[in-house]
């Protein structure tokens, strides 16, 4: 095996592939080396030096994350020299850090805090060099808060924004002691080209980047007897919330979450999945309309049509491809459809004054906060969604309420707008919207279920960056005879880097697809910027597995079979893409500056 490399770490021989770092070789034999600037999603930076190890025969210490293993290397991961160096590195980092840990949002979930405690760092060794002006927090964005005084300049956010999202909103600016992670000309976060996806937050080791929190406002609304407070919870929240409350990764806590929210005082606990099912009907109808226009009426239509559920993706395309907004489905995201219906349909049905409704959304997302505050999102006559919460905030609210979450019984969502299907549940995973859309579209077109075992359309699942699939329509119902023999080509991209590949094909006129799903975050919403920290591919996969398990457990697994969806069309919306739908469920996008 010429490509294998054998080295010795702390007296244990280990054989690894050529190119493996010393850090990963150590991990393979369960030797833990501390890291800060390292993140498995990102390229190696090697700037924090906390992972230093001793290589026998070499005078200086070696950064294990940035050094490939070599044959015959003898590595020590613990020695007096290493311990002194690490303690010094920690003390220096702490001397530049705002150590107000007790009031920090990331307290107990902070990598710097944990290592500082492990190495028993004494903050009297080095004088604090934190300057007064450093503690000003940028709260200008609806979604992302930036606190330079907590930043350790590991550049994980810079690499995340560049490598995963291809946005480069954050850069290393200035030099030496003035060096900081900042924006173009230090502009506030709401004035720059930022998609609000929040991936920088989930990759930040400290509290330097956090979501803007709104839970105090929500508690105030709950405590106000004149307010009717409702919450809709996204599918990706129920497979990750458990991580905030002591459960292993991949635990589904849907029923306990509902009980907790009811006990916390929400007047009604509803499901974003209801409007996810509604999205499938509206978006599916829109797609079939575009296909009919193209195939039957020979009209110029924008194909592929691209999903519009992910607000980070929406802001990305508005900034980066402002000339191609016609490809987006005009459907609002499920959150915003829910908001618009909550203060109209729901208010009417329940006999509640919409002005007294406070509509909260629990989301795996940072960008949803921005989306809720878009001026376009007031079609009910009020702000459709009053506040967006992340999964993390929701976890803290449950903790604040003193509930013993693990002992709670399971409960079902309230009605109305609480019924959902397995198709809506899988919106949370990359490929899920596509799968849900195909399940319904295939049935509507042919009168039969998709030709996949148990409705599970495996080709659109998984963590591959861009997935492509095709499905052929045969023996179509008379109404859809124009699709007879048509092979629908679809693609799924997650992570904006991959979305860019799809968009560049569209710009070049080489895109072979009819329908594309894009999610801003790697893994889809289950890996969203509002999810528990950390998120790695292993964690993403477990949340995805939980999502599909939730789908399999649902009695109804196709959106068009959701009885509440049938009911809302019968009583209120009348037809998909009808006048009411057009007014409440669809929206327009705007061109934004590219640079």
């Amino acid at each position: 095996m010429a490509n294998n490399i054998t080295l010795t770490i702390d007296g244990h021989q280990v054989t690894v592939d050529h190119g493996t770092s010393i850090l990963d070789a150590a991990k393979k034999i369960n030797i833990k080396i501390p890291t800060l600037c390292h993140h498995e999603d990102l390229c190696v930076a090697g700037n924090c030096r906390i992972c230093v190890v001793e290589q026998v025969g070499k005078q200086t210490l070696t950064a294990s994350c940035a050094t490939p293993a070599d044959n015959g290397m003898i590595i020590l991961t613990s020695s007096p020299k290493i311990r002194r160096a690490r303690k010094d590195i920690m003390a220096l980092l702490v001397s530049e850090h705002n150590t107000q840990c007790t009031t920090c949002y990331r307290s107990t979930n902070c990598e710097l805090q944990i290592l500082s405690a492990e190495y028993n760092v004494d903050n009297s060794i080095y004088m604090s060099v934190l300057k007064d002006g450093d503690c000003k927090i940028d709260k200008a964005s609806w979604s992302v808060e930036k606190d330079n005084s907590k930043c350790i300049r590991c550049q994980r956010c810079v690499r995340t924004c560049a490598e995963i999202q291809h946005v480069n909103a954050l850069a290393v600016t200035e030099r030496g002691k003035d060096m900081k992670i900042s924006t173009f000309m230090h502009l506030p976060m709401n004035e720059i080209v930022c998609t609000n996806c929040g991936q920088c937050i989930t990759h930040c080791p400290t509290g330097a980047l956090t979501e803007r929190r709104y839970y105090d406002e929500i508690w105030a609304a709950i405590d106000d007897p004149k307010k009717h407070v409702i919450i809709n919870t996204a599918p990706a929240v129920r497979v990750a919330l458990g991580e905030m409350l002591g459960y292993p990764v991949g635990t589904r806590v849907t029923g306990k979450m509902v009980t907790a929210l009811k006990q916390m005082g929400f007047n009604s606990v509803l499901d974003t999945d209801f409007t996810a099912d509604l999205t499938i009907i509206e978006e599916g109808t829109e797609l079939l309309g575009r296909l009919k226009d193209a195939l039957v009426h020979k009209k110029q239509v924008s194909l592929p049509m691209i999903t519009s559920c992910s607000p980070g993706w929406i802001k990305f395309i508005e900034h980066m491809y402002p000339e191609h907004l016609g490809h987006l489905s005009s459907c609002k995201s499920p959150q915003q459809m829910f908001g618009a219906l909550a203060k109209t349909y729901y208010a009417e049905k329940m006999g509640i004054d919409p002005a007294s409704i406070v509509s909260v959304a629990a989301m795996p997302c940072a960008a949803k906060k921005f989306e809720a505050n878009r001026p376009e999102m007031r079609d009910s006559g009020f702000q459709d969604i009053d506040a967006g919460l992340t999964t993390r905030e929701l976890g803290y609210m449950i903790k604040q309420s003193g509930l013993n979450f693990q002992d709670l019984e399971n409960n079902s969502f309230d009605t109305i707008m609480g019924e959902s299907t397995g198709a809506a549940v899988i919106f949370g995973a990359t490929g899920g919207v596509m799968e849900a859309a195909l399940r319904t579209a295939y049935f509507l077109i042919t009168g039969r279920n998709v030709p996949f075992e148990n409705l599970n359309i495996m080709p659109v699942r998984g963590l591959e960056g861009i997935k492509a699939a095709s499905i052929k329509f045969e023996k179509c119902l008379p109404e859809y005879s124009f699709l007879e023999g048509v092979e629908a080509k679809v693609a799924i991209a997650h992570g904006l880097k991959n979305a860019r590949v799809i968009m560049d094909q569209i710009v070049a006129g080489t895109s072979p697809y009819h329908f594309v799903e894009v999610m801003a975050c790697p893994g889809g919403c289950i890996g969203g910027g509002g999810q528990p920290i950390p998120t790695t591919n292993e964690i993403r996969q477990k949340r995805i597995d939980a999502t599909y398990a939730e789908d399999m457990g649902k009695p109804i697994r196709m959106s068009h079979e959701n009885p509440e969806v049938a009911q809302i069309y019968a009583e209120y919306l009348k037809v998909p893409l009808g006048e009411k739908s057009h007014h409440l469920l669809h929206t327009k996008y705007r061109k934004r500056n590219r640079y």
Partner: protein, 156 residues
């Protein structure tokens, strides 16, 4: 702004539009406009198709790529230890009184900016300063008044 656009276009033709062209283009702008304005950095981002933050990150790294408005003549007095020992303080205060600006400031007529700089490598001839790309050594208060007199009379 139209001029800046033309300038950046010309520079990008000369240096290319790859990532490595960024620095020579920025230097070219500073040569003509004395500093990098917000608009010029945005234009560079557009021409090279990189983010504005990336342009600013590079610009703010280098002391000689100013991102604050500077005058026609940028005066940089060496602040290294040798020049300091040879009387930099007196030189600085003389310049301040001649130009009526303090360190970091630009004169109202946008003719002069006064800055300090790291070692110019002219230690044996200190105190030293540079005005744009021209250097002046063995400075004395008299010499300063003479040099700036020529600049103020537009003799240079």
């Amino acid at each position: 702004m139209a001029d800046t656009k033309e300038l950046i276009n010309a520079l990008s033709k000369k240096h290319g539009i790859e990532r490595k062209s960024l620095l020579p283009i920025l230097q070219g702008i500073v040569e003509k406009e004395n500093y990098l304005s917000k608009d010029s950095m945005l234009e560079v981002a557009k021409v090279l198709d990189i983010s504005a933050a990336e342009v600013y990150g590079t610009a703010s790294f280098f002391s000689f790529l100013d991102t604050k408005e500077r005058g026609q003549y940028v005066v940089r007095v060496c602040k290294s230890m040798t020049c300091d020992m040879k009387g930099k303080e007196e030189i600085l205060s003389t310049i301040e009184s001649v130009l009526k600006i303090k360190i970091g400031e630009t004169s109202q007529d946008k003719k002069f900016s006064l800055l300090e700089t790291n070692c110019l490598g002219l230690c044996e001839e200190g105190p030293a300063m540079i005005i744009n790309d021209d250097y002046f050594v063995k400075l004395t208060p008299e010499k300063i008044r003479e040099i700036f007199g020529r600049y103020l009379r537009n003799e240079i």
